[in-house]
Amino acid sequence: MAEIRNYTMNFGPQHPAAHGVLRLVLEMDGETVVRADPHIGLLHRATEKLAESKPFSQSIGYMDRLDYVSMMCNEHAYVRAIEQLLGVEAPVRAQYIRTMFDELTRFSNHLMWIGSSALDLGAMTVFLYAFREREMVMDMYEAVSGARLHASYYRPGGVYRDLPDSMPLYQESRWTKGRALKRKNEWREGSLLDFIEAFTRDVPARIDEYETLLTDNRIWKQRTVNIGIVSPQRAMQLGFSGPMLRGSGIEWDLRKKQPYACYDKVEFDIPVGVNGDCYDRYLIRVEEMRQSARIILQCVTWLRANPGAVMLKNFKVVPPSREEMKDDMEALIHHFKLFTEGYCVPPGETYAAVEAPKGEFGCYLVSDGANKPFRVHLRAPGFAHLSALNEMAKGHMLADTVAIIGSLDLVFGEVDR
């Protein structure tokens, strides 16, 4: 009989299901995976080292570029770490805005996830549906910060500016006119809050649409049920967090257990899985989208009723407005100092974590009292999840590896940093 040997194959880095730049070296026994060795670092940009060479506030933009699908949540962790060391706290309205945009970000991240991981498994339509809604979340980002992706909207001491009173409207063009134009602009006539509310009220119906395509879909279930099972004990051992941990049946959510921003003032539920397989993780992310909608609506109601400052009036940390600079010498000096030197952060170290859409995103910040961080370490959820891939994929077929990678919700910006 001919000798049958295991062979090694490369999966990625140029592979549509590798979600970016994952190079996976697979040792195969026929179609079965014997060992999976992820090679990462192709997107390593040394964000942490770059942050050491710049004043604190200049690194906020780098945070957007880590997990570039859930930008504002990354900023939130970094900004919270700075605020803790400085001993300042953002005004309540800013906290509510952060809560709302964290949830919009979660929604947009899960849309990206549901679209791309369904596409990996051959379901094309979900992707198109998901991106239709994601586009609107991008519009909200743009309206509030001026950028569709890399917002740098959260700042130490609050958020960059208050929610705008009007939304940009679609202009008439050769392709969009008459009724189509009116339909596109329907939600955008009022303020940003009106737009967010109209959008969020519509969200449950949209989520139902994705669910009709997937939840009871025979092919989807065949590809995900009982694939990549992780027991609760192993999930803890492997440092899982977020939907991956909850998928294994552990009820742990930083928004509930260690509340930050305004999560202790809003009502929502945490979905928990039973089997710890890819299908459970899918169900959890879908339910999280519904819960996000609930939180967003509560924030909208509060924000409508409570106008106020969104930034501290502390010019040692927060730059004064352009208007104030025109006739106040003190304001001009503060502005000059803040933009040439930045602020010094008292010596100390802190770890600030947020429940990012992918799991616990933490920022370990060490300051020696200078205007630049001494050391920043970013705890990315995807890094811990990917390190467990070998254990999860072992014994599964090659095609199941794709389903497992999909269910990890990886973005290489944060894995490689």
Binding site: G41, G87, Q237, G239, L312, K313, K316, E341, V345, A388
Partner: protein, 246 residues
């Protein structure tokens, strides 16, 4: 997160004696320091003992304390000619590979910092371990205690050159295949060492020394002014708020 009761910080000395020093309790996290020889043993207890029950290792990272508290600009003293120039010497990020500055003296350069999470008690803990030898920093590996330590230790090895004794597979993880040096050390240039590109004539990828100049725009300063004391910040914010209201 719950405030940390006194009893918890006392537990460390009760259970570990002098093997553990409680360094700091701040922002709801206790920081303890452990020597490398007790590292593995203490961590096992932290995970296994139900008083602690730190079932999860959320984060492990290396820190290089070279140049801690050093500045590039002396802002407090002036001579008869005025203040000193903003940038003197080769501070962090201002040097290239050939001109690495002589390292200043720090007692222990490398540390490994753990962040542990106990879901049972809803508590976090930071554990720090200074490696004994700066030329060859070595710390026992925690892979047997927490599975998630695997990649984190590979990362700390890759970026800081900290060797984790007993790690089953201590390879580089983030940097290129065949990379030399440990890029997150404070004496490694920010601009890097080599650049990589595809050469159309040789028809292969080649490595060249980096061409870019080190360029850090803002000097690193340390100001111990009263304006950065927390109460003053609060007071000033209060005054501003009153002005606005009045």
């Amino acid at each position: 997160m719950k405030a940390i009761p006194e009893a918890v910080t006392e537990q460390f000395s009760v259970i570990f004696g002098n093997r553990v020093t409680v360094a700091e309790v701040r922002f709801g996290i206790v920081t303890i320091e452990v020597a490398p020889e007790n590292w593995l043993e203490v961590c096992r207890v932290l995970r296994g003992n139900s008083e602690f029950a730190f079932e999860q290792l959320t984060d492990l990272c290396g820190v290089d304390y070279l140049g801690f508290g050093q500045t590039e600009w002396e802002t407090s003293d002036a001579t008869s000619e005025g203040f000193s120039r903003a940038v003197e010497g080769l501070g962090p990020g201002r040097f290239a590979w050939g001109q690495r500055p002589m390292p200043g003296h720090v007692e222990h350069r490398y540390a490994v910092v753990l962040h542990l999470l106990s879901q049972a008690h809803n508590r976090r803990l930071r554990v720090r371990c200074f490696a004994a030898d700066d030329d060859m920093p070595m710390v026992p590996s925690l892979v047997d205690v927490w599975g998630s330590a695997d990649w984190y230790e590979r990362e700390a090895f890759d970026l800081f050159g900290i060797i984790f004794e007993g790690h089953p597979d201590l390879r580089r993880i983030l940097t290129d295949y065949g990379f030399t040096g440990h890029p997150f050390r404070k004496d490694f240039p920010l601009i890097g060492n080599v650049a990589v590109r595809y050469d159309t004539e040789k028809k292969r990828v080649i490595y060249e020394p980096v061409e870019i100049e080190p360029r850090v725009l803002v000097p690193r300063v340390l100001r111990n002014d009263a304006r950065y004391k927390a109460d003053d910040i609060d007071r000033e914010a209060q005054i501003r708020a009153d002005e606005q209201a009045g």
